[in-house]
């Protein structure tokens, strides 16, 4: 059976090393925080200028001066620090984050990602920190459904949407399979409710059989 958003988030959380510095992109990736085990020592970064960001505050305790990149209220943890935007993006661009997790419209077999603009003529383009995250983190994980609502695959040979970053995605978590994008091509790490052959049949990219991994690394 295909995975729910929360099941996908749990898979991603399982693969985040202990003590890693991690940025969770706006939207679905923020769910990963709920699945990090207690005592994981993972430190969350938010690009508006904070490390060791905590969860949403209790009702009525939101502080308008303390938000995440999605402008939602968050909290401080022991060990938090604040810094300005140039320092925050220096941290990202300089390769200091261990992992970032992004949503995407499309990912290509070569690791290109498109997640900021549909290219529709009436759409208002907005990029935020997506391009900096895509090229900055040591490992870039994507979380998305594998197929769009109309059934077309989102893991593609070449992205048709405007790119966010080139050759930067390392791993793609989807509802029906997890993929590693490496120098040899697209490796299927595990599937959920689909066989490898069914998957290969529905995608237009060459796939390689990988070793299923349920234990993290």
């Amino acid at each position: 059976m295909s995975l729910s958003k929360h099941e996908m988030a749990a898979l991603v959380a399982r693969d985040i090393p202990r003590g890693a510095y991690v940025n969770l992109g706006i939207g679905q990736p923020t769910l990963v925080a709920d699945h990090l085990p207690a005592g994981s020592g993972v430190v969350l970064h938010t690009e508006n200028g904070m490390l060791d960001m905590g969860p949403a505050p209790a009702d009525g305790e939101a502080d308008p001066d303390l938000t995440n990149a999605g402008k939602q209220p968050v909290t401080e943890l022991p060990g938090s620090s604040y810094f300005h935007s140039a320092d925050s993006f220096a941290m990202m661009r300089g390769g200091h984050l261990d992992v970032c997790v992004l949503g995407a419209f499309q990912v290509s077999a070569g690791g290109d990602i498109a997640n900021w603009h549909t290219g529709a003529p009436d759409a208002i383009p907005a990029v935020g920190g997506a391009m900096d995250l895509a090229i900055g983190a040591r490992s870039v994980f994507v979380m998305m459904t594998l197929f769009a609502k109309d059934g077309t695959p989102k893991l593609v040979g070449e992205c048709s949407y405007p790119l966010t970053g080139v050759g930067c995605v390392d791993r793609v978590y989807t509802d029906v399979a997890t993929f590693d994008l490496g120098p040899d091509g697209v490796v299927v790490r595990e599937t959920h409710g689909l066989s490898y052959d069914e998957l290969a049949d529905r995608l237009d990219v060459p796939l390689l059989r990988g070793v299923a991994s349920g234990t993290g690394r």
Partner: protein
């Protein structure tokens, strides 16, 4: 020159001229200098270029400035938000120009302006539409795009506390673009929640040294 303490936001923003480039701090509403933006609306300067991470929220502050038709061009990273209907309408009607800049390049280009850097090679945006037409160069096996400084005539910054000399501290994630913009403008105007005597801020914890601050108003 050391900072001037202004009695009113109106006095603080009287320096903004028609056609000016105005850097406006804040990430959404956190750090947004609302009183200064309101005073700027009142003051009437028009044909502005505004540099700010977002393009206004709801109907107040920056959104209200946009709604008055005072802004010719927005330079920002993330105009589209759930409550950015004022910008959205102007943009769809072709009544405002947009320069979209990845957030890190936006911050770094202002930092470069403040730091006297003529240009820098950034890896962000390479191979995307936002680097189209820009010079690229391979350095040490990686491709970079050349980015130029963004200077402001005026910066409007929201901080938490200032001393009477102009040293500033911020509060939590409301810090965001304020310290960078303060360095990048010819005249930096700051609104603070609290004005304290010189010597009351911890010298180790000052985020924006007074050298970057021209005018302060407590609101």
């Amino acid at each position: 020159m050391t900072a001037t303490i202004c009695d009113t936001a109106a006095e603080a923003v009287d320096v903004v001229q028609d056609g000016a480039t105005v850097l406006i701090g804040g990430f959404g509403m956190a750090g947004m200098p609302v009183a200064l933006v309101d005073a700027l609306i009142e003051q009437g300067a028009s044909d502005l270029t505004v540099v700010s991470n977002n393009a206004g929220n709801g109907d107040t502050g920056l959104a209200a400035l946009l709604a008055k038709g005072r802004v010719r061009k927005m330079v920002c990273s993330f105009p589209r938000q759930s409550d950015s209907w004022v910008f959205d309408g102007l943009y769809r009607a072709g009544r405002i120009e947009l320069e979209l800049v990845p957030q890190g390049n936006l911050a770094e280009r202002m930092r470069a302006a403040g730091a006297g850097i003529g240009a820098f090679f950034s890896p962000t945006g390479v191979g995307t539409p936002l680097a189209e037409g820009k010079e690229t160069r391979e350095i040490d096996g990686r491709t970079y795009v050349l980015e130029l400084p963004i200077r402001g005539d005026v910066a409007l910054v929201g901080a938490h506390r200032a001393d009477r000399q102009g040293n500033l501290v911020y509060r939590k994630t409301a810090r965001n673009f304020g310290p960078v913009m303060a360095t990048a403008a010819r005249t930096t105007v700051v609104q603070v929640a609290e004005l304290v005597e010189v010597g009351e801020l911890d010298p180790e914890a000052v985020v924006t040294p007074s050298i970057y601050v021209d005018r302060v108003v407590a609101v």
